[in-house]
Amino acid sequence: MHPLAPTHALSRRRALRQIGAGASLAALWLLPARLAYAATDRRLVVIVLRGALDGLAAVPAYADPDYRRQRGALALAEPSEADGALDLDGYFGLHPALRSLHEMYRVGELLVVHAVATPYRSRSHFDGQDLLENGTAAPRGASDGWLNRALALLGPSDRRLGLAVGQTVPLLLRGSTPVGSYAPQTMAELESDFLARLAALYRRDAIFAAAIDEGIKAQAMSDEVLGEEKRMGRETLRGPAAIRAVAAKVGKLLAAPDGARVAVIEAGGWDTHAQQGTINGRLAVGLASLAGALAALKEGLGPSWRQATIAVVTEFGRTVAINGTGGTDHGTAGIAFLLGGAVDGGRVVGQWPGLAQGRLYEGRDLAPTSDLRAVLKGILAEHLGLPRDAIEREVFPGSAGVQPMRGLIRA
């Protein structure tokens, strides 16, 4: 058994810091409500990996006595061996395709939560993603996203504090608080006069009217921040270069003084049922692309990286054992990454359930020991400074029994 335990994550120094933070929060209650939670300088990016990332491949528990036997041909070599896992803490390692993340871990800017899962326990991607985004314990349990509900708690603002990356708004950011958007522009931009006339025609169609109003605002913002850089060649619309190029732009949009503060980026291709591979193969390609995107995001953020938390999440993990076709099937627990200058990283947190057959969930999956909502609640409280009761009531309703994880963020 790995010695990780919840206490492991909470040093005395950090506990003292939390008391301090609590005191200042209490003081804020005395201010008029309108000013209490004004727009933050913190940045939060949520990267949704659609298709279910194999957490045990990204962060192998190479020292678990059952690791090699259970994973078979998918097991990575020991850190001391050629092409081995990159050691994190003597027990867990990182997939070699995540080398740039290893450096972040070393300087304390990457935190891994292992054996984490949403409350979803069936194995449908689509229901799993719906629940991951709606923030309740049930598929279709809400028609808006938990991150949109969190934005509402940041208080009134005429700015668009949320940023949807892509042509439409993912469920995670959908809801009553308007959000900005960014997608690569490859065609000729329209004259503002034409857009105004089109917007007037859209007045009687609520969906189109709302979309074009936000689109025009978003265009002005990306013109201001990115200028000519916002144009991209069509080749950037696909392949691993696409997400890297987009992530760099998102970093800049978040870094702008009056820019967005919260963004969502989606990346697919993690459903590795066959020929998943180890140091080469489908998953390694995906992980390298993710690492590239994270590096580009960091570069785009520039000095704002110090105030940033990037949460990388997925709908569920995959089976512990290799399946019959060199891959893994839909599972339960997996990993979440937290990265950024604001993250109190350099640690793997959570309770390790072990990989012995009897310890697996339903005899096949990594057993969940942490609720992803605990991680997210911890970030919203410590990173964005949202009040805990509102997080409980508005953002993750019905999660009162899930204690926020503490000490994820540097004070």
Binding site: Q167, T168, I212, L237, D329
Partner: protein
Amino acid sequence: MTQPGAFAAVNRFGLGARAGELALASGDPRGWLVAQLQATPPQPSRLAGLATGAQNMAQFQRSRRQGAADAQRLIRQEFRTTYLREAVARTLTQIEAESPFRERLVAFWSNHFTVSVQRPTLLGLAGAFEREAIRPNVTGKFRDMLIAATRHPAMLVYLDNALSVGPNSIAGSRRGRGLNENLAREILELHTVGVSGGYTQDDVREFGRILTGWSLGRTEDGDAGHYKFQRLIHEPGDKVLLGMRYAEAGEDEGVAALTALARHPATATHIALKFARHFVADQPPAAVVSRLAQLFRDSDGDLAALSRAVIDTPEAWANPLAKVKTPNEFVVSALRATGFAGDPERLVGSLRVLGQAPFAAPSPAGWPDIAEQWIGPESVLRRAEWAMAVALRAERAHRPDAFFAATIGPVADAATGAAIAGAPTAAEGLALVLASAEFQRR
């Protein structure tokens, strides 16, 4: 004078009016649609001369035997070319279709049984899948389409069943290979009973065992790359799926299980909901869903009967603008309206820029069919930019007022007409029609 009924016929059920089509449909809109279901049409000319899925699969298998590098090269070169030819042929077929309701049904069922080039091998197989497994069955029995889709090389590769091996089969016990439950799970969740269909993880596993052996091989004539039941990898023994016992019967187990799934009441409801969502509204009335489900059960999954039933559903005609067009529907309807297809290579580029490259759905669930998944701040701008680009190339062929009358005239109000008539240039007038909310709905 065109009735709103004709507008719904050519837009909700069809792919948007080509020149003269509104007039064609306006006498008897329902009859115009039903007629498209009756005749067994010849294969559209654009689809002639394309290689079969089995031929491309065989080519892939040959290249794999030469080594991984050869297979990669095949995918990057020949298969990419195949993909572009298939994507262009399919899009032009939609743009030129004279039985657009039938083409819409092809697209609907193709999306229901999604295979996607997100798996690069599918670049050589996805177009053939639609031509071979879907197109011939859109007015046949659901069960037959389900079996044809499940057996197609594209599906066997996309959802990994070609490689799934019964652990206790003759080959499995010898080589230590095993099961892959991907296809079994997605047939249950996406193709038949649906995620609330009452199956468990054990059912997924059992169905996976039933489907072992549904793989690839040679025909009796020695042609490679075809569906073939491979006895040596079939998991022996009885299986239990959704409470029903399947005695060991080789390939027949799979046929029996798919037949039972096609007739399962949850499948009828699942299909009826998707059909109603496509033809009535994003959130269709429960009464419509239950009527269509009843018809599906009573007709033993007769898809022509289901299609006639949705034509006879008053709710499908009530609001002619209830649905938002997908990018594919938007592009196809715009090019049907302008009569301008442009450079075929650019067609696929247009669809990609607007977020819906052919045969490239992001997951086995296929493309979404609700407005909020397609209409957002960036997508409305991209669609408007594209509309302007098309208008600039079509401005000499159309007058904005006539173009307006021939497209959205029957449903747009006077203010929209006035704005279009008052546009400073013909190109802007045409672009306003194409980018209007009315044109982007159906």
